[in-house]
Subunit: 352 residues, 2 copies
DNA sequence: CTGTTAGCGCTTTCAA
DNA sequence: TTGAAAGCGCTAACAG
C-alpha cells in the first residue's frame, strides 16, 4: 500500500477525500473485492444473489453513488448522454422537438441533455465544444453559424452529428429539416385560390437558411401561379415586437393593393396578432408553424409536427450510432396547410 | 514503459485506441511532457509563450479535444455542469425558468443541463440519480413525487439541492416558489370587487402542492371578504382537453348562480379558451400564470416572471455552492394581477 | 463465481 | 519553467 491512501486507514477509514463512499469502500464493508462490488452494482448475472445482497446493503449503508465520470472513462470514454444544442429553450418549437427526441432516447436508456447558445454564434462553438468534451454519444444541433467545418475533425472521429432544422454548412452530416419550400408554396396557393393576388411576407432574419428557403418557396408558388415575384413584398425583421410591427406597417402602406400576408414563423405570427389583429382580420393571413391558440383565433397555418421532427431526429441518431460508416441521411418532414379561416377568406374590396 | 501502451509506438504511433488524440499525443508532437501540455492547454501563466504555442499547434494538428471525464475525475470529481430536472420541456413555464437560470449560470461558466422526467415519479428518481452520478455541481429540480428523503444522503454530502416551484418533502433544502396563496387571493378580490360573489375554480391535480396552495389562497380570499368557501365550487382536472372541458361544464351546470371562474394554471386557461371562449366571454375570468396571447384575448391573469424565478433559483444555487453550510433558503417570488378586462367586468344578470 | 491487476486520460504534487 | 510519477474511481481482462 503505497502513496496517498496511506494516511487513511485509521480512525475514519472508509471514505475518500470528498467524503463520498467509493466502490472500494462498499466492497470492503461487504467483504468482497471491488471488482465483485462493481459487478453486483451493475447487475452482472454471474454474481451470487447472496453476494449481490451484501453489496447492495453496504452500498445503501454508505449511501454509495456511482461516479459515472470514472465509470465512463474506464469503459471506453463514451457516455450515455446525447447532447442537444439549441438557441433558446423558450422557443416552443425547439422545446417540442427536444421533447420528441427525448422520448425516443429514453426508451434506449440514453439521456438527452440540452444546452443553449442564446442565439450567439460565438457561444455556440463553446457550447458544442463543452458537449464534445463531455463525450456525449451523439450531438444534435440547431446552429445558426454559417460554417460548421470546425466539426470536421469530430466527424472523422465518428461522433454522430445531427443537424436539426437547418443543414450543416461545409460539413457532411445527417440532417433533418422540414419542407419549408412546399409549405410556403401551399400557403401561397391557398391564398391565391381565395382570390388574393398581392401577397406580402413578414419574414425572419435574412441570413437564416429557413428564412431563405421559405422565401424561395414563396417565389416558386407565386411564379407557378402566373404571378410575378416582387422582393419588395418581403420584409425581414429580427425578433422584436417593434421591428415586426414596423415591418408590417411599412408593408401595408407601401402596398395598398396588398390583400394578404404570410408570416414565416410562429414568433412573428404571435407578435403580429398581438399588435395588429384588427388589420389581419381584414386580410388573408397564413402563419408558418402552428401555435396553441391558432384554433380559437381562426388562423390558418402551415403546420408540421415538431414532435415528429424530434422523433425522426432521434431515429436517425440511433441509426448513425449503430452504423457509423453509413452515408449521411437527409430527412425532410412534410408540411401541410391547416385551414381555419384566415387563409381562406377572399380579399376585401381593393379600394380599402 | 510497461504494459498496454507498449504495442503502440511503431507505425501509427500517436493515437489512443479510440482514434482520438490524447494529451500525451499532443505533448509528444510538441516535444514536451504531458504535464506541460496540460498546463499550456489550461492557460497556465507559468508556461513559456513559445511552449504554449507549440502545444496549441500540436493540439490543432491532432484535432485534440480534452476529455472532461478524465479531467474532472482527476481534479476532484466535480464538473461544471448544473443539473435541472423538470417534468416536461414543452411546458413554457418550465422552459422560461430554465432560460432564466441558464443565463445566470453561463456568466459563471457553468452549463445548465436539462433532463426531463416525463411527469412520472419513477423515472424522476432515475433521472435524478443519473444527474448525481454525472457529478453535477448542483441540482435544481421541479419534482412531483411526495417524498424526497431519498436525497438525504446527497444533501449530507454537500451537493447543493434546489427545489423549484414546489418545496421539498422530508428533506431540508433550498427552495424557491411563487406566492401562490397571495396570487389567488388577489384574483378573488379582483373578481369580488367587480361584483362577483359565486366564483368557481378549475384546478389542476389535487395532489400537487401548487394546486393545494392556490386553493387555500382562494379559500382565504373568499373568507376574508365575508364569503363562504364551498369546496363544490372547485373542480380538479388532469391535463386533458376533455377532462378540463367536462369539469368546466359540470361546474357551470351545477352552479347556475356562478358568475366567475378562476383557472389555476396556464394549461387549463388555454384549454378552456380553446373550447369555451364564448362562455368565458360572458363571465368574470382570471387565469393563474400569464401566457403569450393573453393581451390580445383580454384575459386578466395572476402573473409572475418565470425568468425571475429562474434567475433567483440560479442565485441561491450559487450562494449554496459558495457556502455549503449555510442554512437552507426559502424564497418566494411575488405574484400580481394583470388587469386586461376579463377579470374586471361585472356579472351579467343573475338569471342568465 | 470471485479476486488480482492494470489502466482509461488527465492533472497535480514534488523535485529538478 | 518543465518533467516524472502517481492516482482520481472505476471496470475489463485474466486467473483462479
Amino acid at each position: 500500500m503505497i502513496g496517498a491512501r496511506l494516511n487513511r486507514g485509521f480512525a475514519m477509514a472508509k471514505h475518500s477525500s470528498s467524503g463520498r463512499a467509493r466502490i472500494q469502500d462498499v466492497a470492503a464493508l461487504a467483504g468482497v473485492s471491488p471488482a465483485t462490488a462493481s459487478r453486483a452494482l451493475a447487475d452482472d448475472p454471474k454474481v451470487t444473489p447472496a453476494t449481490r445482497q451484501k453489496v447492495l446493503e453496504a452500498a445503501g449503508t454508505l449511501r454509495f453513488r456511482r461516479n459515472s465520470l470514472a465509470r465512463d472513462l474506464r469503459s471506453g470514454g463514451v457516455t450515455t448522454a446525447i447532447g442537444y444544442v439549441i438557441e433558446d429553450l423558450m422557443n416552443p418549437w425547439h422545446a417540442q422537438v427536444a421533447a420528441g427526441a427525448e422520448k425516443v432516447f429514453r426508451e434506449k436508456n440514453l439521456e438527452l441533455i440540452v444546452a443553449t447558445t442564446g442565439g450567439d454564434a460565438r457561444s455556440e462553438q463553446l457550447v458544442v465544444k463543452t458537449m464534445l468534451e463531455r463525450r456525449v454519444q451523439a450531438l444534435l444541433m440547431i446552429l445558426l453559424s454559417d460554417d460548421h467545418s470546425y466539426l470536421e475533425g469530430e466527424r472523422q472521429l465518428g461522433t454522430p452529428l445531427i443537424f436539426v432544422d437547418r443543414p450543416p454548412v461545409n460539413l457532411m452530416a445527417d440532417c433533418i429539416t422540414i419542407d419549408n419550400r412546399n409549405g410556403m408554396r401551399l400557403a401561397v396557393e391557398n391564398l391565391w385560390k381565395a382570390g388574393h393576388r398581392t401577397i406580402g411576407v413578414i419574414a425572419g432574419p435574412e441570413s437564416l437558411w429557413t428564412t431563405s428557403e421559405r422565401i424561395e418557396g414563396y417565389r416558386q408558388g407565386i411564379e407557378s401561379l402566373g404571378g410575378r415575384f416582387d422582393h419588395k413584398l418581403v420584409r425581414h425583421a429580427r425578433y422584436s415586437a417593434e421591428l415586426i410591427g414596423t415591418a408590417f406597417i411599412d408593408l401595408m402602406t407601401a402596398h395598398p393593393t396588398m390583400t394578404a400576408v404570410i408570416s414565416t414563423n410562429n414568433r412573428i405570427t404571435v407578435t403580429l396578432l398581438n399588435s395588429h389583429k384588427s388589420d389581419i382580420d381584414r386580410m388573408g393571413f397564413i402563419g408558418f408553424d402552428d401555435f396553441e391558440l391558432a384554433g380559437l383565433l381562426k388562423i390558418s397555418v402551415v403546420s408540421h409536427n415538431p414532435l415528429d421532427v424530434g422523433r425522426e431526429a432521434a431515429r436517425i441518431t440511433l441509426e448513425r450510432i449503430a452504423n457509423p460508416l453509413a452515408s449521411p441521411q437527409r430527412i425532410e418532414v412534410s408540411t401541410e396547410i391547416v385551414e381555419r379561416g384566415s387563409g381562406e377568406r377572399p380579399p376585401e374590396r381593393m379600394d380599402r
